[in-house]
């Protein structure tokens, strides 16, 4: 029983991070149809900005650094959409063509961002030592608990934003029917840029949190892109709540496999992925 309890707890802790890593990608694809292969690179940027601020003379608390990484990555994402992706969209005859183009463009972006980071930070591992102790009684590291708390807060704030605000409603309407949203007066280009910015900002926040949990290196992005893609397909392409659930499911799967054979986790991810595509190709929350 204790084993099952621990698997569920650690699975939830990991799943929360997976969910945060994936929600941003889901938002970018669901509303904007951008297949952003460079998603993980923005996680890397978040991690390194937090690391840099933590190691600098101001020794900024990693949690507080989210207040810097989130707006910074939002602006990067907003600018990328307003320049690169909007132009690609305008020159694509259909959304399907745009999807392909966006994937190729973000693939290029992946290398540009990663190599700039490598010039600055090299390719060695770094770690942010933060709250690296366990909570009394259970064997749960405090930093993981704090990370899950931040994920939950962000999830709730984001949910309220989508449910209650004018921009949030415009995002939901645009994801269902962009043309009709335009007839309602929604400037679809600005909604898409905001969505892309929010997606990148979530990657940045996830990066800040991840830097307190694992060693970071400039090549770390791709593994998170892969996890995010699995989770997004698992949850249902473009479904934000699906990405949340998918993240938790994958987190628990990962911990069950780790308990028996840690080296098999990646294999397990892909097995779950393939099984799901066979049984329910539209994902958990897909329509």
């Amino acid at each position: 029983m204790v084993v099952i309890r621990d698997i569920i707890i650690t699975g939830l802790l990991l799943g929360g991070i997976f969910a945060l890593v994936s929600v941003g990608l889901s938002l970018q694809y669901g509303v904007g149809r951008v297949m952003n292969v460079a998603h993980g690179e923005f996680i890397m940027i978040g991690s390194f900005v937090t690391f840099w601020l933590f190691g600098s003379t101001i020794h900024l608390d990693p949690l507080v650094s989210i207040l810097i990484t989130a707006p910074l990555t939002f602006v990067i994402g907003w600018i990328l959409h307003a320049t690169l992706f909007r132009r690609l969209m305008d020159t694509s005859p259909t959304l399907d063509v745009f999807e392909g183009k966006s994937m190729l463009a973000s693939f290029g972006l992946l290398y540009v961002v990663q190599n700039i980071a490598r010039i600055i930070w090299g390719s060695q591992n770094y770690q942010v030592m933060y709250l690296n102790r366990t909570v009394t009684g259970a064997q749960i590291p405090l930093n993981r608990l704090v990370a899950l708390g931040v994920v939950i807060v962000i999830g709730v704030v984001f949910y309220i934003f989508l449910a209650r605000t004018r921009m949030g409603k415009a995002i939901r309407a645009s994801s269902q029917d962009p043309t009709t949203a335009g007839l309602m007066g929604v400037n679809i280009n600005s909604v898409l840029a905001v969505c892309f910015g929010l997606g990148v900002a979530m990657a940045g926040i996830a990066g800040s949190l991840l830097s307190t949990l694992y060693a970071i290196q400039t090549s770390m992005g791709l593994q998170y892109t892969v996890i995010a893609m699995i989770v997004v397909v698992l949850g249902g392409l473009g479904s934000v709540s699906g990405a949340m659930i998918g993240g938790v499911v994958l987190g628990i799967v990962s911990q069950i496999v780790t308990y028996f054979q840690p080296t098999w986790t990646l294999i397990a991810y892909y097995l779950v992925f393939i099984l799901l595509l066979l049984v329910r190709p539209k994902g958990i929350m897909g329509k």
Partner: protein
């Protein structure tokens, strides 16, 4: 109020509308009838900015709108209620109505406007919290119309509101259009239900193969041999 001159447009290389001219005066109830594929929906989409014209001009309240985006056109007071309702089915009825009031000018007054819309469509108020997908066909059309009114338009262009509805509900839709017209809203209606349309509107255009084939008062068109044969089955 709305003036269209020499309008041509289409999709890709396929031309749909040919050198089309059309005029709607303030306070009028104008209908546009024609067979499937005549270009009626294309014309409405071009007016509301969803499709860009190839040539010609569209003027609304004295302002050229043919180069504007759809979201700027609705802000000027021109509301397009699209074919097939196009509701946001995963949002509640209240949220659908709120989306109709999206332009900044009308967003602030959305609560008062919603009261007015509920007075026109009392059934929507009873179901305000329900998801739009749970409504019946008739109720969905009422919601689409209510949503289109939330931007407090001066001109409403409405595409096939009777499509797929039971005869009793169709009469209800036409009654509502009539009462909106009485409230001072100018209407451009696209319909396949020619009989009821010619009985409700003031004036009509007959669109055939992307060109205006005939126009005039509805009384005149009801007597025309061509309309009687081709559209009224007489």
């Amino acid at each position: 109020m709305l003036e269209i001159e020499g309008l041509s447009t289409g999709y890709g290389r396929v031309q749909v509308l040919w050198d089309l001219c059309l005029k709607v005066e303030e306070g009028e109830f104008v209908a546009l009838v024609g067979a499937n594929g005549a270009g009626k929906t294309t014309l409405l989409k071009t007016i509301s900015g969803v499709i860009k014209p190839w040539s010609g001009s569209i003027t609304f309240l004295g302002k050229r709108i043919d180069t504007l985006h759809a979201n700027d056109i609705v802000d000027l007071g021109l509301s397009h209620i699209p074919e097939g309702r196009k509701l946001f089915t995963d949002m509640s009825i209240k949220e659908n109505l709120e989306m109709g009031a999206y332009p900044k000018r009308t967003w602030k007054e959305r609560r008062e406007t919603m009261k007015w819309v509920f007075s026109l469509f009392p059934r929507l108020e009873e179901r305000a919290g329900q998801l739009a997908r749970t409504l019946s066909g008739g109720e969905q059309q009422m919601l689409a119309m209510g949503r289109g009114l939330m931007s407090k338009p001066r001109l409403v262009i409405i595409d096939e509101p009777s499509n797929g509805l039971a005869p009793r509900v169709v009469s209800e839709v036409f009654d509502i259009l009539g009462s909106l017209h009485k409230e001072g809203i100018t209407i451009l209606l696209v319909e396949q239900n020619v009989r009821q349309t010619l009985a409700t509107a003031d004036r009509a255009y007959v669109l055939e193969n992307g060109r205006i084939a005939l126009q005039g008062s509805c009384t005149f068109l009801r007597e025309s041999d061509h309309v009687r044969k081709a559209y009224l089955g007489l």
